[in-house]
């Protein structure tokens, strides 16, 4: 049973527009939420995170929103750039389980010039 779902395997956006990547989770015991970015043939790199006590965290062009009642997480990239083209994974941490993360399946973002 998938506890973390990214329902869109791919997303295509025009350069300069907003990219919105979505993630849904099932377990209210998750206490920390993260987004990772992955280029082909490389390991995932940390992008941005949010604690369960917040509903928004912003870092430059990247903003993560957390809607706890809906168990929904989203990543907004604005403005999108061609260099943002990559696979984006959301990940969640279970409270009190030693930092173990559970990942979604990923969404491949393509930003077209």
């Amino acid at each position: 049973d998938q506890q973390v779902k990214q329902n869109s395997p791919s997303l295509s956006v025009q350069e300069g527009r907003i990219s919105i990547l979505n993630c849904d989770y099932t377990n209210s015991m998750f206490d920390y939420f993260l987004w990772y970015k992955k280029y082909p043939a490389e390991g995932p790199t940390f992008l941005i995170s949010i604690s369960s006590i917040k509903d928004k965290n912003e870092d430059g062009r990247f903003t993560v929103f957390l809607n706890k009642s809906a168990k929904h997480l989203s990543l907004h990239i604005v403005p999108s750039q061609p260099g943002d083209s990559a696979v984006y994974f959301c990940a969640v941490r279970i409270y009190n389980q030693g930092g173990k993360l559970i990942f979604g399946q990923g969404t491949e973002l393509s930003v077209k010039p």
Binding site: Y36, E42, G43, S49, S51, L101, I102, G104
Partner: protein, 111 residues
């Protein structure tokens, strides 16, 4: 400078021939993880170490073993690789802030 280093980046082995993948870190983090990622799938946790304490995920096959001789190094041993074990293997360390730092991965091909 890379903080989590995995070797080799690419490994080709024959069916049933043991393989060892290595991971080293310069971050001095207590916790190290090994994930398996197959194409278009989420990274799947195999096991992790908290210092020398080994924690195996319940569904990790017995074919997969790990060693952590010191804080800096961690090894993944696949005793008898099968075709289904072909994947990217990711090592990560855990920061106190909550995020994981990943290495670049080791891609395993089984012939």
């Amino acid at each position: 400078d890379a903080m989590v280093i995995q070797n080799p980046r690419y490994q080709v082995t024959q069916f049933g021939k043991p393989v060892t993948l290595s991971c080293s870190q310069t971050l001095n983090h207590n916790v190290m993880y090994w994930y398996q990622q197959k194409s278009s799938q989420a990274p799947k946790l195999l096991f992790h170490y908290y210092d020398k304490d080994f924690n195996n995920e319940a569904d990790t096959p017995d074919n997969f073993q790990s060693r952590r001789p010191n804080t800096s190094f961690c090894f993944l041993d696949i005793r008898s690789p099968g075709l289904g074990d072909a994947a990217m293997y990711l090592c990560a360390t855990h920061a106190a802030t909550g995020e994981l730092f990943f290495g670049e991965g080791s891609r395993l091909t089984v012939l």
